[in-house]
Point group: C2
Chain length 228, copies 2
DNA sequence: TCTTGACCTGAACCAGGTCTCATGTTTAGG
DNA sequence: CCTAAACATGAGACCTGGTTCAGGTCAAGA
């Protein structure tokens, strides 16, 4: 589950336009731009967002933007990649101490939902990547699924997961589930005052885990396989 | 599964701007606009698409557009609703002759995937609605899920589906699965010549059905419930 | 202190888009 | 055949926003 997500933790931070490495000052500016972009894209969506809004929020001159990013699209992609790193971090951290496979599964999803609940708008950004930068979204999903798949395969070896399941398809299935359920019960749900929940309703979470447990557990109780 | 999708089949077709009913000629123009919009939105995405491109493709004057739709957003929403009707139609048609619950499940997904494979780009339109018109997307999902949920509940009554599963959460889970798997194995997949598949790989489909079967089937073989 | 390269700036350029409107054309009914 | 209502048109008013550029400012080393 720990893909080389951590190797990329802090790349040398190079100017995208000139290719030169940045000084401390330059790096700080770059970071401020990214943070501003995060907020603006999240609040307004890609097309409503504008470079002006981003630089204004960052408290930086408009022209400065182009010293650090080639285009609006470029900073968006950088942002998605950054978010991907953070989601995976949240997931693998949550899974760290899990004993059994089911525990790990539960913890991984909990980590995922916690991240989504904590940054509801950010999640929107990732999903919008499907239309703004399909390749980046591709990367996002693939990176997450790869870790998942590996975990499933290992669990199958041990016999914790039904061996007849295809790990790849299963991983994508789980991922899709998590995503839509997160969207429905975290992003759409709000109480009477319009306040979104800060975590997934435990009933929903439990119901989902039951579903997953059913799906993954080897059939026929604790014995071996049953039917053809 | 047959929600009143068919009641809306052909509304009187009223001009969105004037509210007046349309003559035959007007109705034909409206239809041509919708068809052109379907192609243009699908190929280029919402923001790249333009009214000019749509009217050009429809072979219609620019100004005419505004006789039929209030805005770009308005025609987009009309399109999503139309697509929703068609997906559900494809699904319920496929499920029509199913004997068992599993059969129905299989057929429903097959219908869904068939539609996606036949109109890969259209599917993109629906997903983009998340950012262009969230309410419309909400409607889209809800309409599909509602039917699903009802089917699940009925199957639980009969004992075909694990009674401990929450029908709502399960319905959303299934929907999410189908969507991501469709995206991954239909929309992303292409052979060496870049040609997308015209149906879901049977291996993938079977793997997914196994997963679903596991998840839904009452635990403990054909007998009653087992653990707490 | 002076110099140099890195960093910063925002007015202006420009491409493209939506929507209006004054005008012309078609169709159906009397 | 004549008239009114419905339908069609595309130039242009108006606007928005990404990107460039010519000219500053800052900070660190000599």
């Amino acid at each position: 589950m720990t893909t080389p997500a951590d190797a990329e933790l802090d790349a040398p931070a190079v100017s995208q336009t000139t290719g030169r490495p940045l000084t401390k000052r330059g790096e700080a500016t770059r970071r401020r731009l990214l943070e501003a972009a995060e907020q603006v894209f999240a609040e307004q969506g890609y097309h409503e967002a504008s470079i002006v809004k981003i630089t204004e929020r960052a408290g930086i001159g408009l022209g400065t933007f182009y010293l650090y990013f080639d285009s609006k699209q470029a900073i968006f992609e950088a942002l998605v990649i950054d978010l991907n790193r953070r989601v995976r971090h949240s997931m693998s951290e949550a899974m760290a101490g899990a004993a059994s496979r089911l525990d790990a599964e539960r913890a991984g999803f909990a980590g995922f939902f916690r991240f989504t609940a904590a940054h509801p708008a950010l999640y929107r950004v990732v999903r919008e990547a499907e239309f703004v930068s399909p390749d980046t979204l591709h990367l996002h999903y693939t990176r997450i699924v790869d870790g998942y798949e590996e975990g499933l395969r290992a669990a199958q070896q041990v016999g914790d997961v039904d061996r007849r399941l295809d790990p790849t398809v299963t991983a994508w299935a789980l991922m899709g589930m998590g995503e839509l359920i997160g969207m429905r019960f975290l992003l759409w749900e709000r109480d009477d005052d319009g306040v979104p929940p800060d975590e997934l309703d435990t009933h929903v979470f439990d119901a989902m885990m039951r579903f997953i447990d059913n799906a993954l557990a080897p059939r026929g109780g604790t014995e071996g396989p049953t039917d053809a």
